[in-house]
Symmetry: C2
Subunit: 336 residues, 2 copies
DNA sequence: AGCGGGGAGCAAACCGATTTGCCTCAGTCG
DNA sequence: CGACTGAGGCAAATCGGTTTGCTCCCCGCT
């Protein structure tokens, strides 16, 4: 029983019929993988024009095992760091790759789900920015042979995959020494969730250590990577019996939140509280007073990730995992 | 559970063989579309576990004609309005739809290319924010039956598709009357490229008209929808023989650029130049002085678009194209 | 004359699922 | 007792391409 469906899609078989050749020949005209005589080719091409034929991407991908799609698994596209990274990624892997974005909100179950889903969809590659996922988790879900590039350093020394990250440790160290150079001795830090610490915390600790300042564990608090997250963390710090006079924040959003909190408590910045952020998002230059921060090259990070990923996807490179470290610079503005 | 060294993917046929049933039965266990006896089902399920079988999304999509993917075609994800919209979109169409984002940078050829590509990839739906694309262009490239939801109003009165947009005309009117309420008579406007004008310009003109102020065409200039774009436009306005004392900018990014330009010329805001933006992006509240602007509900816009799109994709709604208009409010801060 | 090679084209297998149609075997209803 | 129904299962068609093998023919070399 034939169902009278909506206007049937034009398939390669239709083209073949109209041009009076086999499907094979049409395919070869399209791909150029085998020679086709000029007159035949012309017949096929007119048939294609005439019918308005467009090859079906799904069918093609099924056979060729290439989807020309990559997944970008990140915490939150709403964090202004990531849109830039996303564009860098697209520019980095030239040649018709589309990106679909998975916002995990930092939940590792969602990250895991996404990876599985993306694997099922047969993405050609994955760019993953996760604070929690170790190589074992990834391997459990991503079929071997599917290229993965990692972003960020929070899961340190993961030798399984290509990685591109900023020199967080150095940046954090620089930020902290800068604060101490301004005379501060009680320097706090607001870091990300999960208490894992991470390179930014390492740099902070090393700077304190080198300056011979004892680390007060009370001065290091965790919070969500968001503006409100920074605000609550800052309130905790400022509520201490002996509060810090300066705070290094592991990202700009949290630093902005800290500014909100400080202002809410009637403190003036930088007189009563000095602040350094991390990332140098656009907003950092626009707040008042403009935020001193550490640059984190979002676009370039994406770009490099794109290059590494494409080299893997095309098979152009098959060697051992590579790590690219991008520099961080202190951007001195008015909150210190 | 078990890691496979075998390069071969586990298919439904493998599962069928191990469970000693037909592929059909495995499929029915998975989909539940036909009953399967309990013991059989159990055999199949253990086989699935044992082999670590995961259905191939491509093959499935090819047959079912559903990809559970939608395309979001926008000018630039780097514009902070769009990440929010993107998340709203995901939340709006509940149920496992993935979004892939196409940055057109406002070039209509790229928009066209993206639409075609996305159609070839058999996306289940498209959300399109384009200033230039008319219904005819879309129809030329998108197969009929493929749901499209439009965002924004710049291409006015396009009856072909569901649309969700902010009440731009009203917002712009409100912004302009607000400026005139502060005593300004020479009120300029910085609008988007293409000179098309658009609803925001309409509201501006209507406000002037109602106040009995003659429109000086010199006071309306076009620029890119970016911060630098706003800066160059503002410099043109401020270089006039009789420059405006207030400017309404068609988006916040341009307003920020105008602030840059004004500051570069030694003007103080709002004393020497009053400014109103549009969109109320996060940065608007953070600049100094904080920007007076018109709210544009990015997240809600995406959310509504998601709802409309899902209703079309699932076939839940088949009626005539709908239009949703979201309200705009003036957010008064310190640049007026 | 025999052989290798390449141009040109076709039929059929393949990618990995879903869906249709058909068969068998109870059990139920009239 | 025959008709009908629903559970349970299988083989084969389908989705729309690409790729493999094979044939046929013509050409240039030894």
């Amino acid at each position: 029983m034939k169902r009278f469906a909506s206007p049937q899609r034009v398939t390669i078989a239709d083209v073949a019929r109209v041009a009076d050749v086999s499907k094979t020949t049409v395919s070869h005209v399209l791909s150029g993988k085998r020679p086709v005589a000029l007159p035949t080719r012309a017949r096929v091409e007119t048939a294609i024009q005439e019918l308005g034929y467009r090859p079906d991407g799904l069918a093609r991908s099924l056979r060729t095992r290439r989807t020309h799609m990559v997944a970008l698994v990140i915490p939150d596209i709403t964090n202004p760091y990531y849109p830039l990274l996303a564009r860098g990624l697209e520019d980095g892997m030239v040649g018709g790759y589309r990106t679909f974005i998975c916002n995990s909100d930092g939940h590792s179950e969602r990250e895991q789900e996404f990876l599985a889903e993306v694997a099922d969809r047969r993405a050609d590659g994955i760019v993953l920015d996760s604070f929690t996922m170790g190589a074992d988790w990834i391997e459990a879900v991503v079929p071997e042979g599917m290229p993965v590039v990692r972003i960020g350093t929070t899961v340190a020394d993961d030798p399984g995959y290509d990685t591109v990250h900023a020199d967080d440790e150095h940046g954090a160290h620089r930020a902290t020494t800068h604060l101490m150079g301004k005379g501060h001795r009680r320097v706090g830090m607001i870091q990300g969730p999960a208490g894992a610490g991470g390179k930014r915390n390492d740099g902070y600790l090393r700077a304190l250590h080198e300056a011979g300042v004892a680390v007060d564990p009370e001065l290091v608090v965790s919070g969500e990577w968001t503006r409100p997250g920074g605000a609550v963390a800052a309130r905790r710090l400022l509520g201490l019996a002996d509060p810090p006079t300066a705070v290094f924040c592991a990202n700009d959003l949290m630093a902005l939140g800290a500014m909100d909190a400080a202002r809410g408590l009637g403190l003036e910045i930088p007189r009563d509280l000095a602040l350094v952020g991390f990332d140098d998002i656009e907003a950092a230059a626009m707040v008042s007073p403009p935020l001193t921060t550490v640059s984190n090259l979002a676009y370039e990070t994406g770009l490099m990730a794109g290059v590494l990923l494409r080299e893997r996807m095309t098979g152009q490179f098959r060697g051992a995992p590579r790590t690219v470290t991008l520099p961080c610079k202190l951007v001195e503005r008015a909150t210190t």
